[in-house]
């Protein structure tokens, strides 16, 4: 009887050791990790256009002021007027201005003033997302989800400009975003992605 008791207690302890040495992952957790998941940027981008964009337009710096600051001290100007993400990326700056259409080719509008080109189609990159300061990379499960935010913003902007004809001589008012990399020589002309574009 004593021997049986000893054996049973040893078996019980051995079983406990085995259980403690094995990591059990809930099936739900495993399935979640393996399942294909899709991210929908719609809700957040809806919020951005409805509540953040108006403030971004309101607070955009006059483009002349920004260009002068860049000519004086690119690094200081980029830091003061722009936002950047991570290491090595350009600074995205919200600017506003007005000008006269010099040329329009369906993708871009070249203005006669300030060396500014407005891009209204084939809009790519993260400039508007970054300039807004609204979206944080740490809030997304992976960088692809974060990039989908940019893709959605860009396609909505393109849709808003589609069908608008711009002709030389036309006066326009705009607010938008331009990228500057102060580590490189400044370009002679700047491309602005407009987030608001009005004709007079």
């Amino acid at each position: 009887m004593k021997k049986i008791w000893k054996i049973l207690s040893l078996i019980a302890l051995f079983t406990i050791c085995c259980i403690l040495s094995v990591k059990i992952i809930p099936q739900e957790e495993y399935e979640k990790a393996k399942s294909g998941r899709t991210f929908d940027a719609t809700e957040q981008v809806d919020l951005f256009f409805a509540e953040i964009l108006p403030g971004m337009v309101e607070n955009a710096a006059p483009v002349g002021e920004v260009l002068s600051a860049l000519a004086r001290d690119p690094r200081q100007a980029a830091s003061e007027y722009g936002r950047t993400l991570g290491i090595g990326a350009p600074y995205s700056m919200a600017v506003k201005g007005e000008g006269t259409v010099k040329a329009a080719d369906g993708e871009t509008i070249t203005l006669a003033e300030d060396g500014i080109t407005l891009r209204t189609s084939m809009i790519f990159g993260n400039s508007v997302r970054e300039a807004s300061g609204f979206f944080g990379i740490d809030d997304y499960e992976n960088t692809m989800d974060f990039n989908l935010i940019s893709s959605d913003i860009n396609s909505r902007l393109e849709e808003s400009f589609a069908g608008h004809g711009f002709v030389p001589g036309q006066k326009v008012r705009y607010a938008g975003v331009m990228d500057v990399d102060p580590r490189k020589p400044l370009p002679s002309a700047f491309e602005v992605i407009p987030v608001k574009l009005e004709t007079e």
């Binding site: 000893k6 040893l10 990326a89 740490d138």
Partner: protein, 315 residues
């Protein structure tokens, strides 16, 4: 005496259990001496990852740690073994290049639960807020630039192929999606083949040779990394189509930079494995000294390198 003999097995078992749970104690004991940092790399069979691993190790050692490189050989099971070993051996931090964005989550979780911070390099895991920090190239934006260069040099019409990297690596899809976000906007550009060559040079050569059998009239191939670009270039040369087919890569490897300067491969995206690795080591050092005030994810910009600026990048 009989009582002692009766309870001795029980005492021995309890002692064994205590030993099983003693990892944390061993780790704290290590902290009294020079810290230990583990550098876990997906594969050392690729020169790019060798630079990543060695840069991380060298920077960790320069910061005063003992650093050991572990090669996962592109095998998630091997990676899991390394993590078990690292956790049991009392390392203070892990600089980690995952084999799989989903599959590696469980390993990171185990390390974090054991009190070991994990700093992902180059590749991310699909788990928000789990890794202590993730230092990654901005692959999507880099390949948006690549896509724009592709359209500029290839034109708005033509057939092309794409060679993908490892399908379990988020970088593969970030690059592909960045590229397609541009190129798919041009209906005249037709992708006739898209296949994985696992980021491997030899496999890329074989895959493109097969693609060329079926589609001899392609005018370009986009490769998700430079090793594959070099393999693709070999296939293009062997087929006598060097003037017909433009090859694009991604990484910024020395042999591709040289090829661009010679007018062969058209473009690559310049990543900096050394910068990622040293940044990871420095953040680990900061964290271990009590400073955790940094973003959980740090993207590093990728520069487009073409014949017009390759001289700025050649060593």
């Amino acid at each position: 005496m009989k009582t002692i003999k009766r309870i001795l097995p029980l005492l021995l078992a309890v002692a064994a259990l205590c030993a099983c749970g003693g990892g944390k104690g061993r780790q704290e004991a290590v902290k009294d001496g020079p810290g230990k940092i583990a550098v876990v790399i997906s594969t050392l069979n690729n020169p790019w990852f060798v630079v990543l691993g060695e840069s991380a190790r060298d920077r960790a050692e320069a910061l005063g740690y003992q650093a050991v490189i572990f090669d996962s050989q592109n095998n998630p099971s091997k990676e899991a073994e390394h993590f078990d070993n690292i956790i049991a051996s009392g390392f203070n931090a892990i600089l980690f290049n995952p084999t799989d964005a989903d599959g590696s989550v469980v390993n990171v979780k185990a390390a974090i639960e054991a009190g070991i911070p994990v700093f992902c390099m180059d590749r991310e895991i699909n788990a928000r807020g789990l890794a202590t920090c993730q230092i990654l190239s901005d692959n999507f934006s880099g390949c948006v630039s690549m896509g724009r260069e592709f359209v500029r040099t290839v034109g708005r019409t033509g057939k092309y192929a794409e060679l993908l990297g490892l399908v379990g690596d988020n970088n593969t899809w970030n690059r592909s999606k960045g590229f397609h976000s541009v190129v798919d906007r041009y209906p005249g550009l037709e992708m006739v083949a898209q296949q994985s060559a696992d980021f491997d040079r030899n496999k890329a050569m074989e895959v493109l040779e097969s693609i060329l059998q079926a589609h001899p009239d392609i005018v370009a191939v986009f490769c998700g990394n430079d090793s594959m670009a070099m393999g693709a270039w070999q296939a293009v040369l062997s087929a006598g189509k060097a003037r017909q087919i433009k090859v694009f890569g991604f990484d910024g490897q020395d042999d591709v930079l040289k090829s661009i300067a010679e007018g062969n491969i058209i473009a690559t995206g310049m990543q900096s494995p050394a910068l990622m690795a040293t940044t990871a080591a420095e953040y680990a050092d900061r964290f271990l000294k009590g400073d955790g005030d940094f973003s959980r994810k740090i993207p590093i910009a990728v520069d487009l390198v073409t014949s017009s600026n390759v001289k700025d990048y050649l060593k």
